[in-house]
């Protein structure tokens, strides 16, 4: 089966033990070791299935992006029934009362075991406040759910070290066995945490050259050229003038915020901001005010009050006002309304600090975070902060902004002289994973060697649209990477990075919708890779955790309660990662249904098909259901819904199908073209007659042809057009002359018409329907 496409696979094809289909000794009853549906011969998988799930279905892709000039999506917070709230409060009350009673009696009758809580020998007890009470009496009861020791790679699956408790969770006894479980809890959004594959190879190379530490702080001998290179790459990735990296994500916030604000400044912070931000603000000496979570009206009211009142007592004007928000909130999954906040920024002249810990690499067409998602210029945001722990599979954090700011932070923050510099393996991992998401300009020259088609010098499709608000930086020039890094073709072409982004986006969306449909209460934006599932009752937390772990396909979950969340809303944040194949997801969802007796059921009959739900029809819950059949839309039953509006529904239903078919076909064309180009390159340096520029253009809409520069040469990397095409669709101008036979005309809710060119792909229809969610 040596189809040419297989030659795309990465560097370790030589070791067959690593490839997925030869692990004969591995038990696969849970379906975690290799895919249930084996990939076909054209599909290239460069990874191990346990680390990175394969997904062959082209329909399981999606773009996460905001359509300009449409209102920002605000998913409404859904409230649980009152009896749930009441029972939750009662549970906590019982726990607290019982805990205090036990403490009271225990201190008197079993003084020996309560010694650490009482003054002894002239020492005050070390822990005696509410934190300690909470830890002992509430958290300890379900210690089983927390800090589970694991081993291996935190990829799509993870191996947990089995343990049990003989004494009501006071101590845990290890069993010396491991269980492989589906990992929906690690923040490995793009699956770059891998022990094998291109990034790991690069890290090995880096470690051989640079060692494991630079032994010093950044200002005092610990800086290396690798740091400088990483910083410029990060700046390029984020789209700002300059950036700096710091070796710990938490410390990025907690040590750099004090360098930005000081006494006489005001920090306006979202009430659900992460602890690291609070820590940083608290040590900066600036005043803090909080506003209601993600409520721009509350923010504006607060700004008006703060600016008009000035500093307390003296009424002097504030030196500066810094608004700190998170791109995607780690415990809520909500996304900020960046356009509105930027409009407020123009009016009220505050500085904006966006913590992109969860959004960088997770959302946006090119994975560049919140600015990319909303297609605004990242330079409009004063300070962009993010971490590498999540999408990049590394560690540490960065701050990006204009050069003056970053230079000042470099020499005037604590981190510069005091905290150790980031370790070289971590830096290499960042460089390799980031370059994979961006794609490397002229990748063929480096990784394909002599196999490279001669004309592939500049394959970028820079769409110079004059009215474009946001100009995404495109692939990274080779010069930004250290010379010794050689990424495999799949990574350096940016193809795999894009696939990963699109799969992450689909999985996030899928998980949101799936859990919603099952009647769970979830929070957050459908594009957010974090999906918090609300559990409420403290008693259910451990039970849920255990039932998920004891399934045939074990799923590990994290339950989070106070103090990370408000007391009442304990939850399970699920990190959607691209690495899970949707079939697993379905399984999870179906089995969660079995668990529904312990879950929040908002409505008993929630499981009618989506279209019946929308139209409030009685659904007989067959597949397809009778009402859908009657209405002629059985193809979309049970999950799809139609757009509202007279006359458009059937058109939309069928175009949806048509588009997915077209996108399937065009991706197949691309795969074939790639294969052909590579095959051709191995026999001659001439281009294959079937790969003429003119012929290649068939995959794009005509508007791309019009706007593209003459010097742009399309080579075998046809997939570049995917990105380019969508950029066009975002920057599109409704130009009737470019009407194309394959274009789509959609009718919006208010009857406004929108034209999507062929290159927009079926994804735009999902985007257009996003209001429905």
């Amino acid at each position: 089966m040596s189809t040419p496409a297989l030659s795309l696979s990465s560097s370790f094809t030589n070791s067959t033990a690593d490839t997925l289909l030869t692990q004969a000794d591995v038990e696969n009853s849970h379906g975690l070791a290799f895919p249930v549906e084996p990939p076909t011969s054209e599909q290239v998988h460069t990874t191990v299935h346990t680390e990175f799930g394969h997904c062959s279905n082209e329909a399981h892709r999606r773009f996460s992006s905001h359509i300009p000039n449409t209102p920002v999506l605000h998913p409404e917070d859904r409230d649980p029934p009152y009896y749930v709230l009441l029972s939750t409060y009662v549970s906590y009350l019982i726990l607290i009362v019982l805990g205090h009673m036990r403490d009271f009696l225990g201190k008197r009758f079993r003084a020996k075991s309560y010694k650490h809580l009482m003054p002894s020998n002239g020492y005050a007890p070390l822990n005696s406040d509410f934190d300690s009470f909470y830890t002992r009496r509430l958290k300890k009861r379900m210690e089983e759910c927390f800090s589970q020791p694991v081993t291996g790679v935190a990829g799509r699956t993870i191996q947990i070290l089995d343990r049990y408790s003989k004494d009501f969770n006071h101590t845990q006894t290890s069993l010396n066995t491991v269980t492989r479980a589906l990992n929906i809890s690690s923040y490995n959004y793009l699956g770059f945490a891998q022990a094998r594959g291109g990034c790991a190879d690069a890290v090995e190379e880096g470690m051989k050259i640079y060692g494991v530490s630079t032994c010093g702080s950044r200002l005092e001998g610990g800086s290396s050229d690798l740091h400088t290179m990483t910083e410029s790459l990060v700046a390029k990735f984020v789209g700002t003038e300059d950036a700096l990296v710091s070796s710990m994500g938490f410390a990025t916030n907690s040590t750099y915020i004090p360098a930005l604000v000081s006494k006489g400044c005001l920090v306006i912070s979202d009430e659900f901001n992460h602890a690291s931000i609070r820590f940083g603000v608290r040590s900066s000496g600036a005043q803090v005010r909080m506003f209601k979570h993600n409520d721009t009206n509350a923010l504006e009211a607060l700004l008006r009050e703060a600016i008009s009142q000035g500093q307390p007592k003296t009424h002097r004007p504030w030196k500066k006002i810094l608004v700190i928000v998170e791109g995607i909130f780690s415990m809520e999954g909500t996304m900020i309304d960046l356009p509105t906040i930027l409009a407020l920024k123009d009016k009220y002249k505050f500085y904006l600090f966006v913590d992109e810990a969860h959004s960088i690499g997770g959302i946006g067409l090119h994975g560049r975070g919140i600015a990319d998602y909303y297609a605004v210029d990242p330079r409009k945001i004063d300070v962009l902060m993010g971490t590498f722990t999540k999408s990049f599979g590394a560690a540490g954090g960065y701050i990006a902004g204009n050069k003056a700011l970053i230079d000042r932070l470099r020499i005037r923050s604590y981190t510069g002289p005091y905290a150790e510099a980031m370790a070289p393996p971590v830096l290499t991992q960042i460089v390799a994973s980031m370059a994979s998401i961006m794609g490397v300009d002229n990748p063929a020259g480096t990784s394909m060697g002599s196999l490279a088609p001669s004309s592939s010098s500049s394959s970028t499709l820079q769409l110079a649209s004059p009215e474009a608000q946001y100009h995404h930086p495109g692939p990274v020039p080779q010069g930004f990477l250290p010379a010794w890094i050689t990424l495999p073709y799949a990574l350096s072409s940016g193809f795999e990075g894009r696939e990963r982004l699109r799969r992450l986006s689909f999985n996030s969306y899928y998980l949101h919708r799936g859990l919603d449909k099952l009647g769970f209460i979830t929070y957050g934006h459908p594009c957010s890779p974090i999906v918090p599932l609300l559990i409420f009752n403290p008693g259910k937390m451990m039970m849920f955790h255990r039932m998920m772990k004891d399934r045939q396909t074990p799923i590990i979950t994290v339950v989070v309660a106070y103090p990370a969340t408000p007391l009442i809303t304990s939850r399970m944040p699920t990190a959607a990662s691209f690495a899970k194949a949707p079939s697993r997801r379905k399984e999870k969802n179906l089995s969660s249904e079995e668990l529904k007796d312990i879950e929040q059921k908002r409505l008993k009959g929630e499981l009618s098909c989506a279209e019946c739900r929308r139209l409030k029809l009685r659904c007989d819950k067959k597949l397809p259901c009778s009402s859908c059949r009657r209405r002629g839309c059985e193809s979309i039953c049970p999950c799809g819904t139609l757009e509202a509006g007279v006359g458009t529904r059937f058109i939309l239903a069928s175009t949806n199908q048509l588009h997915s078919k077209i996108s399937l076909m065009s991706s197949r064309i691309r795969a074939l073209e790639d294969a052909l180009a590579i095959f051709q390159a191995s026999v001659s340096s001439e281009r294959h007659p079937l790969l003429e520029d003119e012929l290649l253009k068939i995959k794009f809409g005509s508007e791309v042809k019009d706007s593209e520069d003459d010097s742009v040469i399309l080579d075998s990397q046809g997939e570049k057009s995917t990105t380019a095409g969508v950029t066009t669709s975002l920057n599109r101008s409704v130009d009737t002359t470019t009407l194309d036979a394959f274009g789509t005309l959609t009718l919006g809710e208010e009857g406004e018409m929108k034209y999507f060119g062929r290159s927009a792909g079926s994804e735009t229809l999902i985007l257009a329907g996003e209001k429905r969610i």
């Binding site: 694991v150 094998r196 630079t214 907690s254 040590t255 209601k292 500066k320 905290a419 994290v558």
Partner: protein, 381 residues
């Protein structure tokens, strides 16, 4: 008369009627008897008591309705009412300071002078700034283990098993078996009950201090402690008392005065801590640990000792100050950030590392007394 009184009668009747209806409905409610009994017993023919109860009731309602994010109530008396137009004008007039001043010439020169090493760091690195090799006196790689081939090999093996990132904090399945093993090994090495690893040296001590020291606790601390300790104390909001740098007489005086104050105040027993460094980052002086422990035990303080620079560099086998002075710490903690001595990739087998090497450091701390930039790279010409 009848005509005049009839509307009044109707009104009175209606009120009486509705009151009795309310009463009936009230008694129909479950639990109404309890409320009635409570009101009767609290009233006890004393309107003052009822009034007090009502005030409490309204306070509770007010507290419940209060927004979590509202301004402090003590600001209320300072609050000035503005009209919307005035606010708009004030907003228009307000000119904030720039977020950051651009660097001036001196600062820019300072930044440009920061040594950047090309390639791996070691005793003779090449500098990017000058392109020339230099003797490295700035590195904290005291033991020279950073580029040890054996360690590199072990690190590579670990990477091939675990990948690079743990992709989550401890609670989010970031608690790997190697972390647990490493913590155990460190505890064993230092002969303590247990140990905990932090990712960054700077945040180790600044997180440990606020975890134990809370508002109202007393911290007695050396004047010359490093910045991370100062930051940790700031966050903890404890009462801080300083003693002169490395002067144990001064420490004793402070301890005595704290004790005197406490007796005078007759307050409850609070947690008390002494925080200092083993070898001071600022000037390289060393703490007299036996004397310190004596004082700590005499005055019943807990000791937090930052061994960032002494761990792995002093003592016969590198176990730090405790080994150097041959003392055993009881009821004290020794936070040891690993970054300076050991590579920060925390998946290394520590035991292996320390058994195979002789950790020696000449008494360099006594020779180096220039503050802050105490080690610089000298260029080779």
């Amino acid at each position: 008369m009848a005509s005049a009184s009839s509307p009044l009668d109707t009104v009175v009747l209606t009120i009486a009627h509705s009151l009795s209806a309310v009463e009936r409905t009230f008694y129909k409610l479950p639990g109404s008897a309890i409320i009635e009994r409570y009101v009767r017993s609290s009233h006890q023919n004393d309107p003052g008591r009822t009034f007090l109860e009502l005030i409490i009731f309204f306070l509770v309602v007010r507290t419940l309705l209060q927004s979590r994010t509202r301004a402090d109530s003590n600001n209320a008396k300072n609050f000035i009412e503005f009209t919307e137009k005035e606010i708009d004008e004030l907003v228009e007039d307000w000119v904030p300071e720039p977020l950051s001043r651009p660097l001036d010439d001196i600062e820019a020169a300072e930044l440009a002078a920061v040594p950047v090493v090309a390639g791996p760091n070691g005793p003779h690195p090449t500098l990017v700034n000058t392109g020339k090799p230099a003797i490295n006196l700035a590195s904290l790689n005291f033991t020279g283990l950073a580029n040890n081939e054996h360690i590199k090999q072990r690190a590579l093996e670990a990477m091939r098993k675990y990948g690079v990132g743990s992709c989550g904090p401890t609670g989010f399945y970031g608690n790997f078996d190697v972390h647990i093993q490493c913590e155990k090994d460190i505890a064993e090495f230092l002969d303590t009950e247990s140990a905990i690893l932090y990712w960054q040296g700077f945040s180790t001590i600044s997180s440990v201090i606020p975890a134990f020291c809370k508002r109202g606790d007393i911290i007695v601390v050396d004047r010359a402690v490093t910045l991370s300790i100062q930051k940790g104390m700031e966050i903890s909001r404890s009462t801080i008392r300083w003693y002169d740098h490395n002067d144990l007489h001064s420490l004793e005086e402070v301890l005595q005065s704290v004790e005197k104050e406490r007796r005078k105040r007759k307050g409850p027993l609070t947690r008390r801590f002494i925080i200092t460094e083993g070898i001071f980052e600022r000037d390289g002086t060393m703490t007299d640990l036996p004397k310190l422990i004596e004082l700590k035990q005499k005055y019943k303080y807990r000791l937090i000792l930052d061994e960032s620079f002494s761990f792995g560099s002093v003592g016969r086998t590198g176990r730090g100050l405790t080994e150097l002075y041959n003392v055993k710490l009881i009821c004290s903690w020794v936070p040891v950030p690993l970054d300076y001595v050991l590579p920060v990739v925390s998946v290394l087998d520590l035991r292996m590392l320390l058994n195979t090497s002789v950790l020696m450091l000449p008494h360099m701390y006594s020779q180096l007394r220039c503050p802050r930039y105490w080690l610089l790279i000298i260029e080779l010409h």
